[in-house]
Symmetry: C2
Subunit: 646 residues, 2 copies
């Protein structure tokens, strides 16, 4: 017992993730609303502030909190920069405000307050001693010269109240025990449309790799479709040892290029460009060309090696040798990945290994890449990711990391907590109304919304979902609308626009593509019949025109009695968008859906106009229940905006 | 980056209160079941232990955790002593178990595992290097002498597995970041029936104080009624200055004894006994007499002074003087408590003041008192309570503190968190089925169950609830059954057994008693007509005979379609008790209630017998729905046990 402990309890602070172990996430332009239970014994009034500062700034800024109800307090502050902010709370008994309130009650009860006035004077005098503020000295002089009524008026004046607020007595203040953090990312962390492609398959000549120059030719169309991010599978030299053949064959044929995930050959490793794609300069040119079209390039970060990677020669100590002297290739028993070996993140020389991966990332940042899609992060140590992401973002806070972890729920969440900017999700496997409603409720309304930003991929180079295999073109349109309107960030893997859906083997038995681009060069007819490029363009256009679709946590599911039709709304300020999707890609369904007219200020009997945004139709309506009929072959989904009839 | 950070995540630990800021509570004989999410990257298997120790013991004990599901792990340990325990979690990648699992999968897939066997040998060899366990040396020798099949059988044997478990490699182990605490109290902390009384009003001679000797004469009856704790309002000398008269009159009459909460006179302070009650020796005799009847005495701890308390003379610095030189009496503006002055817990000399209060408590502990009912703890600093309770319990872990804080919900909970063993609750004001169901659900199923033990007082010397004022005898019986069966700890204030219910002023306008014992000597006819002493005795007997009624968190509300009838059950092992209460003290109501036969192993078509415990009736029954009719004037409540018909 050394010093009187301050009497104020500050608890149940929001937002606070895992007792402050991890930061929460927001984007530039947001306000962070902080909440806490704050109270003390007895009847004293309390003053409280949220203290906050940007990373690297020593001095705290303060914003006063206000009492909300039931001992819960709140205040917010603006997040103006792409950086980390720290925040905490301080509160103290406010002697002068307590005095004011008590004197007020006594006066109301008709009591005289002579002695209380002298007590008030003492409080002012102490504030003067602390601050030497001349205005307080003047207040004391005026008090001494005045009579009862004058003293009362003076000490109860708003002017003196304001003066006293400037000079609080914080000697009994409590500071919340933890300093919390919020990572403030740039807007692209929250909102964007991704297009994944294998650059080597963007050309027109069969049997050889396309180059970056050839791939450039596709940027106009990708931009025309409305994408914001062009994500490239690995662009590095590919190993020869144990190279996989077509359709993951154990032995490669002579012309087979191998999986780009088997990174590294005598031509270089993670900092090199595959010579077939071109030079580093060609890559930079590609990045610039994308930039000219308003798009960013995302690279694939696969921290693994082909057996031919230079690291094996330069850093043999980074790899664990088996008793027979070989290096173990990657496996998930009984499955084996013979063309890949893993580094040992816990080898003796782990520090040099971790630093090298950092250097790899920084190298690509220096080439103009600010977005990384990380391959299988859940098979590398959590502490490594926490460290490396922080190291990168302390130098380049605008770098975005997307976690490709299709794994157990808690592991996915842990990766998001420890620093990944965005996360792949289970959306790819959620099809029914109940599945989608439950999963989206978890993502948008429960704790994950504080730290996990979903990136809804409708397909990937490794996942051709069964619904696309069976549902064909209507399913591609339906899943596109779901991905693009449920989540502000979503993506497709090239071929999606062509409704490419041939699986390797029997439909419904696998999620792999037949003749996957992972193992061979491909040439595509990007205009082939049945493509949905125009549909994609329109959906992305609607996303851009409607801020409500650029947010995550504004989702609400709305009544639609038919189990095949999912109906939901999103609102941001004046912009409100409603989406009806037929989840059955085979048959038409109809139902009434209910618009929350009461939230839009439209009366139940008032005529209004429903704009369908995909087809640009306008439908006059009245009353909250609105009939929709969704035919998968015509209109698998509709996107509505409402306006009052004139 | 100094040292490789361990790869395992340990999070969402249960029980953990406010990030470990406060201990949870249990009682001697309980097991603490600990849960946590534990996982790492990749596919390695994990081993985890709960580590625990008693306060003051340096060495941790360990108990292995088992995986439950979805990365959630659990283990429990026994709480055998009345003390604080600490606990935390440690987990590490289990190299040998991982090896076993992988080899198993490969064998299942028909793969040969020669190199894997050598890898297994390396793991065993490392364990030998660490431990020098001869049995491991023998294992290695046997391995070297064996062929493929022999090696396989050896390394996969349960014997080697057990050996390897004894010598885990914890070099990459993670220990949970916090050491958590559980306060283990004695059983009385959870379960007991309290009887509150003013000792001075336990006599037979009007107009003067009864003595401890006279009060002793009442112990037989209190014990006969089945109470476990006799709680006495303050027994100290009472001040004369500003002494209150009858019914809280501002001026006392010549014979008025004053409020026992105005503590301290020239005859002594908090360590003295009011001379009218007798001597300290008489008090100890009273305590012993209670003890002989299996009851404990609880004292009232009111940390406040009459203006005549010796402290004002001995420690003037403990009291804050007003500018006019007077000491402020207690007030809650505009209300004033002229007979009481408060100490300043934050005075300059606060350390001596806090220590003095500690000495006061320790003094009464030395007189045989192990239970304190603390008056208005919410008007004294939280840090003081946290400190003083801990100081007392480190010396005397069996001391119980009951918090009398009828204040805002978060303040009540904070007092429970920081150390109070038991808490007064809002039960006293909860009357309807919805109110009781909601409040009990919060107390028994939500976070409060970890730290807040309710003590359900049906009345207190300051609270005569409206339902007792209007409902009379039936209400007294009904509220007794509710208090005694909803909560394992409950209490009544003397006069309850007489159904004393005259308020000061109009019924329903106040909760104060007319001619309150707080301000005058009283003499009661403890056998007056209409008393419910026998009913109380029977209810307390039923509590003793049924362990299910001695627990808190085993409560569940059960179907009873009538809104006037509350129906609930409690179960502990084989003992299951069901209670139906008519919440309307005026009219009879009937309804069907549903026994959860499926939980009791009684078939829906099987005959069984319902024992009504208050009246000792037996009713044959069949099927889960059972008809009850509760007449407030006959049977306001029924308590059931079920048994199979023979």
């Amino acid at each position: 017992m050394s010093k009187a402990r301050p009497p104020i309890v500050i608890e149940d602070v929001y937002p606070e993730l895992d007792c402050g172990r991890y930061p929460v996430k927001r984007e530039v332009g947001d306000r962070l609303e902080v909440w806490a239970d704050i109270f003390k014994d007895g009847h004293d009034l309390i003053s409280a502030v949220v203290k906050y500062r940007e990373r690297g700034v020593r001095r705290w800024s303060e914003v006063p909190m206000r009492h909300y109800e039931n001992d819960r307090w709140t205040a917010g502050f603006p997040l103006t920069k792409n950086t980390r902010y720290q925040y905490t709370i301080e509160a103290w008994p406010d002697e002068f405000e307590t005095w004011r309130a008590e004197v007020g009650k006594k006066l109301e009860a008709g009591q005289r307050v002579e002695v209380e006035l002298l007590e008030g004077r003492e409080i002012v005098e102490r504030a003067y001693s602390r601050s030497k503020d001349k205005r307080l000295r003047q207040t004391l002089d005026a008090f001494d010269a005045a009579g009862y009524e004058g003293r009362l008026a003076l000490l109860r004046s708003e002017e003196v109240r304001g003066l006293m607020r400037e000079h609080p007595d914080r000697s009994l203040s409590s500071t919340y025990g933890r300093t919390l953090e919020v990572v403030v990312d740039r807007e692209r962390a929250r909102y964007g449309a991704w297009y994944e492609m294998f650059p080597r398959s963007q050309g027109t000549v069969p049997g050889r790799s396309a180059t970056f120059r050839e791939a450039e030719a596709r940027l106009d169309e990708i931009s025309w479709m409305g994408f914001d991010v062009v994500y490239l599978t690995p662009i590095h030299p590919i190993g020869r040892t144990n190279r996989k053949g077509r359709n993951n064959a154990l032995v490669a044929g002579p012309g087979d290029p191998g999986s780009p995930y088997a990174i590294g050959s005598e031509e270089g490793g993670h900092k090199a460009v595959h010579p077939e794609l071109g030079t580093l300069e060609d890559f930079r040119r590609f990045v610039a060309a994308a930039g000219e079209r308003g798009m960013e390039v995302a690279l694939d970060l696969a921290l693994q090696c082909s057996p031919d990677h230079p690291y094996l020669r330069e850093h043999p100590d980074w790899f664990r040798r088996r008793p027979d002297g070989t290096i173990k290739y990657a496996e998930n028993p009984p499955k084996k990945y013979e063309d890949i070996v893993n580094v040992d993140f816990y080898c003796e020389d782990w520090e040099s290994l971790w630093r090298e991966w950092l250097e790899v990332i920084l190298f690509w940042v220096s080439q103009g890449v600010k977005i990384f899609r990380v391959d299988n992060p859940h098979t590398k140590p959590f502490p490594f990711w926490e460290w490396v992401i922080r190291e990168v973002q302390e130098r380049h806070p605008d770098v975005i990391f997307l976690s490709e972890a299709f794994t157990r729920p808690k592991v996915m969440k842990a990766l998001a907590k420890l620093g990944f900017t965005q996360s792949y999700t289970y959306f790819t496997w959620r099809n029914t109304k109940q599945e989608l409603t439950e999963y989206l409720t978890e993502l948008t309304m429960d704790w994950p919304k504080e730290y996990m930003r979903p990136n809804f991929f409708a397909n990937t180079h490794d996942i051709l979902p069964h619904i696309l295999q069976f549902g064909g073109r209507p399913a591609f349109m339906m899943r596109l609308v779901l991905a693009a309107t449920l989540s502000p960030t979503y993506g497709i893997y090239s071929g999606y626009e062509l409704c490419e859906n041939t699986p390797r083997g029997e439909r419904g038995t696998t999620v792999y593509y037949q003749d996957s681009e992972v193992y061979e060069y491909k040439v595509w007819d990007w205009d082939r019949p049945g493509n949905i490029k125009g549909y994609i363009r329109r959906v992305n256009e609607i996303r851009r025109e409607n801020p409500a679709l650029q947010e995550l946590t504004n989702l609400s599911f709305l009544p639609a009695p038919d189990d095949n039709i999912l109906f939901y709304g999103k609102r941001s300020g004046e912009n409100a968008v409603f989406v009806a999707v037929n989840l059955d890609p085979h048959d038409a369904h109809d139902t009434h859906v209910q618009f929350p007219l009461w939230e839009l200020g439209i009366g139940e009997d008032e005529p209004y106009v429903v704009e369908e945004l995909i087809t640009r139709r306008e439908i006059p309506a009245r009353g909250s229940w609105f009939w929709v009929r969704l035919d998968p072959h015509q209109n698998p989904a509709e996107i509505f905006r409402l306006r009052r009839a004139v």
